[in-house]
């Protein structure tokens, strides 16, 4: 059923194994035991995150946000089996590469990426999905046209965004949670891409400028909450 395990990467909380499952390239995400935390706590957190991840992946499918297809959930072995994108690049590497090419912040690639990230995050939020760990490492770029073998990301029309790593996600429709989600993204971008100060403001702008599809979603409220969280976090006093 499943053959050829290969360790792709050991992340902070999971091992990523590549295999061939039912004839498809598959990624196994195994949330191995963390010995530093209390076994009960470890069990609860792991189960919770596997559930969150599986649920949100399915939810994303229904609203048209691309995620890896879910193949199998195995609580016993703390594993999720999902589609593996062999030719993909993280948004993080894409930005770093673009920056290296000296095309700078103003390039079409940057604008396209900001637009897509803004759009996608907005779509998640309008459908009450809070990602919980938005970083540029958790956004993959893939070739829309699967026929081509090499990944060429210079053709803007041929790029698709894939959201991954939904372990910290949950569903909520309150502005506070969405504000925090945006704040997490801002923080991740500031620390990872400190040489691209325009990146997040541009993403936020795109996020704001999209027409609402969901009437109960209030963009003003979300942005206000975001500002509020920012003040709470960034300008916290020591006096608690």
């Amino acid at each position: 059923m499943c053959e050829e395990f290969k360790l792709l990467k050991q992340g902070a909380e999971a091992k990523l194994l590549v295999c061939n499952y039912l004839g498809k390239p598959t990624l196994i995400k195994e949330r191995f035991q963390k010995n530093y935390r209390h076994p009960d706590l470890d069990q609860t957190i792991t189960k919770e995150r596997i559930k969150n991840e599986a649920r949100s992946i399915v939810r994303c499918k229904t609203i048209g946000v691309k995620t890896p297809t879910l193949y199998l959930v195995d609580f016993e072995r703390r594993r999720i089996y999902m589609q593996h994108f062999e030719n993909s690049i993280t948004a993080k590497d894409f930005i770093i590469n673009t920056k290296k090419l000296e095309t700078g912040d103003g390039s079409a690639n940057f604008n396209m990426l900001c637009q897509k990230i803004g759009e996608t995050v907005r779509k998640l939020h309008e459908n009450s999905i809070i990602h919980g760990d938005l970083t540029t490492s958790n956004i993959l770029l893939i070739d829309k046209n699967p026929a081509s073998k090499d990944v060429k990301y210079l053709e803007q029309d041929n790029i698709e965004l894939v959201m991954i790593d939904f372990g910290l996600s949950h569903t909520a429709s309150n502005a506070e949670d969405m504000g925090v989600d945006l704040y997490v993204l801002e923080r991740a971008i500031i620390s990872t891409h400190n040489d691209c100060p325009d990146l997040f403001p541009r993403i936020l702008e795109c996020y704001q400028n999209i027409k609402t599809m969901n009437k109960s979603y209030n963009i003003k409220e979300v942005i206000n909450k975001f500002e509020e969280v920012r003040v709470r976090g960034r300008k916290r006093t020591m006096v608690g």
Partner: protein, 334 residues
């Protein structure tokens, strides 16, 4: 060779330290301790510092065996911290600078902790977990700044512990966190508490209000020891988790724990297990250097001074809000 004196008083600790090129010549400290169930407030804390600062200064000079004219630079904590206690130290530091005719230099408190930790442990380029009563941050160095990768989005971890100690009416001597740590050693039953990690950020206010609201009910089924144990296990697991995330993110193989909460042995132990599982090294210090002290301010100030950072006398002010990543690091070449 730079000889520096440092004045620290951003919270309830008053410390004065003297260093000569990383060699500690004096490290003197007084702590303002409040009765059980009470926290320290700015006005009373400032009063405590005012009453003690001359004595501590004398003690530090005696311990070092130096005369004021052998000192090259007078350093003090510019922030972050409580306004009133900060200004007590700033005023004394300014007075000394004028009396002794020496340059003055304001130091960021968090940078003080980091540089002190690097000096004591010899960690080279660690991911830093800075945990204290007022701060909770995951920091890594990149391009002349200590950048904040993760932090609390509401209250600090030490604040959460201190306030929980007040709920249980534990003693504030020597510190509320220390007493929780001792009680936790006797805890057996684990209570599930809200676990709140958002990306590389954490939130503790939910746990605290959960405990505050339900304390009477909880005490029917759990002993105070159990509650201390469960609280520690939960919040430290959150901290270790975000530290590990930051390490994976930065591909770092060293962790340095600094700040008052950093002397908690259980936190060090959990961090140690995480590190050994990913082939990383952990660095931590004991209470002499973890807890706020004057040496860290003197040392960080000496580094800045030696690399050419200067401050005009008219700029020797204080600020309650002063972020770690606001400081331009002139003394690191990597």
């Amino acid at each position: 060779m730079v000889v520096a004196i440092g004045f620290e008083g951003s919270a309830n600790k008053l410390g004065i330290g003297i260093v000569r090129d990383g060699e500690i010549l004096a490290n003197c400290r007084r702590t303002y301790i409040t009765p059980p169930g009470e926290g320290f407030l700015p006005r009373e804390t400032a009063e405590h510092h005012r009453e003690n600062i001359h004595e501590v200064l004398k003690e530090a000079l005696e311990q070092s065996g130096l005369k004021p004219d052998e000192i090259d630079v007078v350093c003090y904590t510019k922030g972050p911290g409580m306004g009133a206690p900060l200004s007590v130290c700033a005023i004394v530091a300014r007075t000394c600078a004028l009396l002794w005719n020496k340059p003055i230099l304001g130091v960021n408190h968090c940078i003080g902790h980091i540089e002190m930790g690097r000096l004591i442990t010899q960690a080279h380029n660690p991911t830093v977990l800075y945990v204290s009563g007022g701060n909770t941050q995951i920091i890594a160095y990149s391009r002349q700044r200590y950048r904040i990768f993760g932090e609390t989005i509401d209250i600090a971890v030490g604040n959460c512990l201190d306030r929980f100690a007040r709920v249980l009416k534990l003693s504030n001597a020597p510190s509320p966190g220390y007493n929780i740590e001792q009680m936790a050693k006797k805890g057996k039953n684990f209570l599930h508490l809200p676990y709140c990690v958002k990306g590389m950020d954490v939130s503790f206010s939910g746990i605290l209000s959960f405990m505050e609201d339900k304390i009477d009910e909880l005490l029917k089924d759990y002993s105070p020891e159990d509650l201390c144990y469960s609280l520690q296990e939960t919040i430290f697991a959150m901290l270790v988790e975000i530290t590990e995330r930051a390490m994976a993110h930065c591909e770092s193989h060293e962790v340095l724990i600094v700040g008052g909460v950093g002397c908690n042995v259980r936190l060090q132990e959990m961090m140690g297990i995480m590190c050994s599982e990913r082939g990383a090294k952990i660095f931590a210090t004991d209470e002499r250097f973890c807890i706020d002290n004057g040496v860290m301010i003197a040392h960080a100030g000496a580094l800045a001074h030696a690399s050419g950072t200067r401050m005009d006398f008219k700029d020797s002010t204080i600020t309650q809000r002063y972020r770690t990543d606001d400081v331009f690091v002139t003394w690191r070449e990597d």
